[in-house]
Symmetry: C2
C-alpha cells in the first residue's frame, strides 16, 4: 500500500525531527526510513545521499523558522525586542535543543561543507530580518545594532541549552533594551 502522501515530505519531516533531537551524525539513514515509513530505495530515488537530505532539511527549516519568528514577533508587538520574547517561547519547549543551524555548524566541522554554508546563510537572513526591525524603529545604525542583537540571540540560545531554562532569553532581552535605549538617545 503505497501511501498517498509524497515520500519526500515524510522523509524531510522525520529527518528534521531526528536530526534536531539527536544530531545529524547520530541519526542513520535506517532510523529515518523506519520513522518515516519510507522504503530504502525510495529514499535514494529522492535524494542522491544523506548529505543532500541534510541540506534539504536545513533549507526547509530555515524558511519555516524565519516565518515562525516573524509571526511571533508580530504577536509580541512587532518591536525589535520581541525577538527575545519569541526566543523565550522556544526555550520553554520541552524538545528545545538549541539552534539547529548552530548545531549543524558545530557538527559539520568543515566550513566549506554545504550544510555549514546553509547554516551560515540562515544566520545572515535572521540578521537581515532584525536589521529591518531596528530600521523600522528608527535607530541610528541598524546594521551595527542588528549584529549585536544576533550575538545576544546566539548567546541566549547557547545559554538556554546549557541551563535548560528559558531565563536566558530575558537576560539577553534586558541587555538589548539597554542597547536600544542608548541607540535612540
Amino acid at each position: 500500500m503505497a501511501m498517498p502522501v509524497q515520500a519526500r515530505e515524510r522523509l524531510l519531516a522525520a529527518a528534521e525531527d531526528l536530526f534536531y533531537a539527536e544530531g545529524i551524525r547520530a541519526v542513520g539513514v535506517e532510523r529515518i526510513l523506519s520513522v518515516s515509513g519510507v522504503g530504502r530505495a525510495s529514499f535514494y530515488r529522492h535524494f542522491p545521499g544523506k548529505d543532500d537530505l541534510v541540506v534539504a532539511v536545513l533549507r526547509a527549516r530555515d524558511v519555516r523558522w524565519r516565518a515562525w519568528l516573524a509571526e511571533r514577533v508580530e504577536a509580541h508587538g512587532g518591536g525589535p525586542l520581541a525577538v527575545f520574547d519569541a526566543l523565550a517561547e522556544r526555550f520553554a519547549r520541552e524538545d528545545f535543543r538549541g539552534c539547529a543551524f548552530i548545531n549543524t555548524m558545530v557538527e559539520s566541522a568543515d566550513p566549506d561543507s554545504a550544510a555549514h554554508r546553509v547554516a551560515a546563510e540562515h544566520k545572515a537572513a535572521v540578521a537581515d530580518y532584525v536589521r529591518g526591525l531596528l530600521a523600522g524603529d528608527g535607530v541610528a545604525d541598524p546594521d551595527a545594532l542588528a549584529r549585536r542583537f544576533v550575538l545576544l540571540m546566539d548567546g541566549a540560545i547557547v545559554t538556554a541549552l546549557r541551563e535548560r531554562t528559558p531565563e536566558a532569553a530575558g537576560r539577553a532581552r534586558e541587555v538589548a533594551e539597554a542597547l536600544l535605549a542608548a541607540a535612540r538617545r
Copy 2:
C-alpha cells in the same frame, strides 16, 4: 620500543586535538591510536572506553583553559573586560573551532551524559571566575552581571565560529563595556 612518556598523556593530547578539530563523534579510536602512536590494547588499559577518554580530555581541557584565561586576563590588565581581549586572541587562531564545551553539549544530545555534565560544569566555573573579576571591580550585583558577561562570551564564540573572524570579540566587549559602566554608575 616502549616510549618513555606515558601512553596516557599522548592519548589525551592526540584525542583533545582531534576531538576539537573534527568533533568527538567524527573521530574514531583508530585515528587517536595512529596519531598518538599508542597501541590499541594500551588504550583500553588506561581507559574503560572511548566515553571515559572523552570525559578525561574535557576535564583536562577545562583546567588548562581556565588557567590560560586567567593568565591572558592578567596580561590584559586584569579587569573584567579583559576576558573579551583574551577571547579575541583565541578567535584569531587558525585552528579556532568554537568552544570545545559548547560543541560537546551540542554533540552529546543527552543532557544526562557525563560529557554533557562536564561541559556544563566548565561554564559554571568560568562564570564563577568572571564573577570574581566583577566583584573585585566593585560592581553592585556581580552575580547577575557575570551571567550576562558569560552570555556575551558564548554569543561571541558562536558568532566568531560563524563569521570566521575575531571581530565578534570586540562587538561583545563593547556591549559589556556599556553594561559595566551602567553597573558602576
